[in-house]
């Protein structure tokens, strides 16, 4: 833990102690107490939305249902079954977790639209069951006579419990973005494809975020039931899910502080504007309008706005000491000639319906070489790269990475196996700093659990220093020039210590001086012994760095061999310049 973080944690603990003591001891009216219990318990559920929506970018329109699971578990558990409060609360959390995980697992492989609609449907089913399954839920009458834990029988003592729980959960959600899982969530939110290629198991991270949000909903609901001693189905309807979402958006979607601000405001404001409730629908209509306006004019919410101002005033401290030297691939142990090639592609094919984008190509990339894959537009170069990095599933064929078959391995696991790549259209995590982007590449979705975070940051620094951008490590990537963003992407791939680096048109969109810089960088990477497979249109660049060239045309391999020889072959010249093979290409 860094000093800064330790100080922050201690300050937070002291602050929490003072607040909990205050709500436990200061005499207050029942009305005030109700408002505070509601704020504390709703906040915990809204923290859950801050995780799933703010941090991970996945929508959850059923938070009231998960809140309801916790509330009904505590309600029925303590009133009907006479269970201990804490046991009932744990059962509620477990149930919310299980339902959240199942819902997430069935839906999160698909796009966000599905998740939105499925959570709405789920919410409605839960309401149907709460109202109709009277034997279990007591139907529309709700559950009364809910017990509190023995030690906290008075309403005020229980309020202190709720505030303490809010502080504890809030602290964990506050720390989450700086953990491995939290960074993976942010990467998924910013760019799923790049996150996968950087070694993050996108699906698992999304399910984890969704399940976590469900559990927090359950905790909030359980405490809510204890606080009010009575629950009924209308408290957990779709309308309440919308209220939760509005609270999250209003305060600021990605921080517990924002969640608390939004929750507090939307509980206190309607209380003071009670006349709105006299017309049914009016206050929800205003919430609906508020959602549209917040999304349009204040996408980061109130706290996001404040935070942005603070960040400009207080930049993070600079690094102490010079960055380390970047370490790339370890030297092979077997004697030269014995080792398998860095990459071997055998009879690879990728068909889209009837279109044979890649049709039976085979080539080898020698260890330690720079190998170029060239061909005219539409010849299947990028498709090949996408099949190699696991974004597309191959129709047929085998891919061997350093001798081991990775044909059936999913994309993020290929990255962990040693495949690093960059994209033709830059895919950085746009809300993060240059350093955070590269740290995600270094930690490969938490695969290197044995390596300390400090060591990963050092490795990321070294990678940034290698591409010459260490001095601007803390700046947001959106502030970098196009050429520099490309370098950050290369640094992100290098920080994962790949055995093979795939570069998809790295020179595209660069000006001539940036191209010279890139050429020099590629030579320095090659000098460190890392194998590179490069796709590019820029023949000057290709001829200057590549020792071997494979030429594709119409999805087939038309030439393969040492660079100079390949470029002299008549059919290669024909494919590029469109002349007859026997006509002289130049002169």
């Amino acid at each position: 833990m860094t000093r800064r973080r330790l100080v922050g944690t201690l300050a937070f603990a002291a602050f929490t102690a003072v607040i909990v003591a205050a709500v436990a001891l200061i005499p207050m009216q029942d009305y005030t107490m109700h408002i505070l219990v509601q704020t504390a318990t709703f906040s915990i559920a809204v923290f859950g939305l801050a995780v799933v929506l703010g941090l991970c970018g996945q929508i959850n329109l059923a938070q009231a249902a998960f809140f309801g699971f916790g509330a009904y578990a505590v309600g029925l558990g303590t009133s009907t079954l006479h269970l201990n409060f804490w046991l009932a609360l744990v059962i509620g959390m477990g149930f919310a977790l299980a339902m959240g995980a199942v819902l997430g697992m069935t839906t999160l492989r698909l796009g966000g639209h599905y998740l939105a609609m499925v959570t709405i449907s789920f919410q409605q089913i839960v309401t149907l069951i709460m109202v109709n399954w009277i034997a279990l839920t007591h139907g529309p009458d709700g559950v009364s006579g809910i017990q509190r834990p023995a030690l906290f029988q008075s309403a005020q003592a229980f309020l202190a419990v709720c505030v303490f729980a809010m502080a504890l959960v809030g602290y964990m959600v506050w720390q989450l973005p700086t953990t491995r899982l939290g960074r993976a969530m942010r990467a998924v939110r910013d760019n799923e494809l790049a996150a996968g290629v950087a070694g993050v198991n996108v699906y698992r991270v999304k399910v984890a975020a969704f399940a976590l949000s469900a559990v927090l909903g359950g905790i909030g609901g359980g405490l809510f039931a204890g606080g009010f001693s009575y629950v009924s189905p209308d408290q957990f309807s779709f309308a309440e899910s919308i209220v939760f979402i509005t609270m999250t958006l209003l305060g600021g979607v990605s921080s517990p502080i924002g969640a608390l601000i939004g929750t507090g405001l939307l509980i206190v404001l309607p209380e003071s504007l009670r006349f709105l409730k006299s017309v049914p629908g009016l206050y929800l209509a205003i919430y609906g309008l508020a959602i549209i306006l917040i999304i349009r004019y204040m996408p980061d919410g109130i706290w996001g706005f404040v935070q942005d101002r603070v960040r400009r005033l207080l930049p993070p401290p600079p690094f102490a000491g010079a960055p380390e030297e970047l370490v790339l691939t370890q030297a092979g142990t077997a004697s030269p000639g014995q080792e398998p090639p860095a990459l071997e592609v055998q009879h690879l094919a990728k068909h889209f319906g009837g279109v044979k984008a890649v049709d039976d190509i085979s080539f080898q990339v020698r260890r330690g070489s720079v190998h170029a894959l060239i061909g005219p537009n539409g010849s299947g170069k990028t498709t090949t790269l996408n099949v190699l990095s696991g974004i597309y599933t191959a129709t047929a064929g085998t891919v061997l990475l350093a001798g081991s078959d990775i044909s059936a391995v999913p994309g993020h696991a290929r990255t962990i196996a040693g495949l690093g790549r960059t994209f033709q259209n830059i895919r950085l995590f746009r809300s993060m700093s240059a350093l955070e982007n590269v740290v995600i590449g270094a930690e490969q979705g938490g695969h290197h659990a044995e390596v300390s975070h400090a060591a990963l940051v050092e490795r990321a620094r070294a990678a940034l220093a290698f591409v010459g951008l260490e001095g601007r490590a803390h700046e947001r990537v959106t502030g970098f020039s196009y050429g520099h963003q490309r370098l950050i992407e290369i640094a992100r791939a290098l920080a994962g210590q790949p055995t093979l680096l795939l570069l998809d048109e790295p020179a595209a969109g660069l000006n001539s001086s940036e191209k010279l810089g890139l050429l020099e960088l590629l030579r320095r990477i090659a000098a460190k012994g890392l194998t590179i497979l490069i796709i590019d249109h820029d023949m000057t660049l290709v001829t200057q760095v590549a020792e071997h060239i494979t030429v594709l045309n119409f999805g087939r391999c038309i030439a393969d061999g040492v660079a100079a020889q390949v470029l002299r072959q008549p059919d290669v010249i024909a494919a590029y310049l469109g002349t007859e093979p026997d006509a002289p290409a130049f002169h």
């Binding site: 970018g57 929508i59 329109l61 069935t106 839906t107 492989r109 698909l110 796009g111 966000g112 639209h113 599905y114 939105a116 609609m117 499925v118 709405i120 449907s121 789920f122 409605q124 089913i125 149907l128 109709n132 799923e192 494809l193 779709f238 919308i242 979402i245 958006l249 017309v279 049914p280 629908g281 009016l282 206050y283 929800l284 209509a285 919430y287 609906g288 309008l289 508020a290 959602i291 549209i292 999304i295 349009r296 996408p299 990028t382 790269l385 996408n386 990095s389 974004i391 597309y392 994209f423 033709q424 998809d504």
Partner: protein
């Protein structure tokens, strides 16, 4: 057997409504890559407009219908300008949330104006229906099916055989290229929203005499229509129609033979089954994000 036939007919009728709303979903999705969560509210608003013109103001049914459609077209324009257009360069999540906001806004504004009591809209025809053998064909169900068939044919003709339809298709497939070819992309998207609002409104007006006209009808219909698009294959026009009809039949049989209170739950079960076993739907294909 007679009962089964009767249920099948009823299911197709209700399914045709889901199909129309699903078609609106799909058209907007193809044009903007956004799922419009207020599509169901378009149906609800359409039905309420019809109540205003035909019941409250006592206009002739045909004129009331035209006036309601004009109102829907206007709603489509406002929706596009107020909700979609300002967010068109953002990622899909903010846009989805905004359409959800719009859906809540529309439903609750109507609630605030009209109160929670469900309204009754009479059917188009005086004759309640005809008995053919064992099956009783309700005139409103017959009307729904006839209108759906006409609209599906119109939809096909419009998109495949008119220049405007071709322009709309070009816009939905590649906005940049379409704009380079001189197609006014913003206008085309506006038209898509108007067309979808009309489809949603017509569906709402047709189904209103069968269900009560209520605030919740939008959410219920949207849920079914979305399930229909997934069953048929997301983004596929033919799939939306078949999916809608199938869902109507499944739901009607479920309500008759299994449970009435949980009628609205069957759509969800079918939806989850498809998500697990065949997420690409009957006709659709999953299009992977391009690297």
């Amino acid at each position: 057997m007679d009962l089964a036939l009767q249920l099948f007919f009823t299911g197709l009728g209700i399914g045709a409504v889901y199909a129309l709303v699903a078609l609106g979903f799909v058209l907007i999705f193809r044009a903007t890559n956004v799922v419009n969560f207020a599509q169901g509210e378009f149906s609800m608003v359409g039905a309420y407009l019809m109540v205003v013109f035909a019941v409250d103001l006592q206009w002739p049914y045909g004129w009331a219908f035209l006036a309601a459609l004009a109102g829907m077209a206007l709603l489509g324009v406002i929706f596009n300008l107020g909700v979609y257009y300002p967010l068109r360069h953002r990622t899909f999540l903010p846009v989805i949330i905004a359409t959800i906001g719009a859906s809540i806004f529309l439903a609750n504004t109507v609630l605030a104006l009209y109160g929670p009591a469900p309204q009754v809209l009479p059917g188009w025809f005086e004759t309640p229906g005809v008995q053919i053998g064992p099956v009783y064909l309700d005139s409103q169900y017959l009307l729904i099916m006839a209108v759906t068939i006409v609209l599906v044919i119109f939809n096909f003709w419009f998109f495949e055989h008119t220049l405007l339809g071709k322009k709309l298709q070009a816009t939905s497939q590649d906005k940049e290229m379409a704009s380079l070819l001189g197609i006014p992309v913003a206008t085309m998207i506006m038209l898509t929203f108007v067309y979808s609002a009309l489809l949603g409104g017509i569906a709402g007006i047709l189904v209103a005499p069968i269900l009560f006209v209520s605030i919740q009808m939008g959410a219920t219909i949207a849920l079914k229509a979305f399930a229909a698009t997934i069953i048929g294959g997301f983004g596929d026009v033919k799939g939306a129609i078949i999916g809608g009809l199938a869902l109507g039949v499944i739901e009607t049989f479920g309500a008759a033979y299994i449970s009435v209170p949980y009628k609205d739950g069957f759509a969800f079960l079918v939806l989850v089954a498809f998500l697990i076993f065949r997420p690409q739907g009957i006709f659709g294909e999953r299009v992977a994000e391009k690297a």
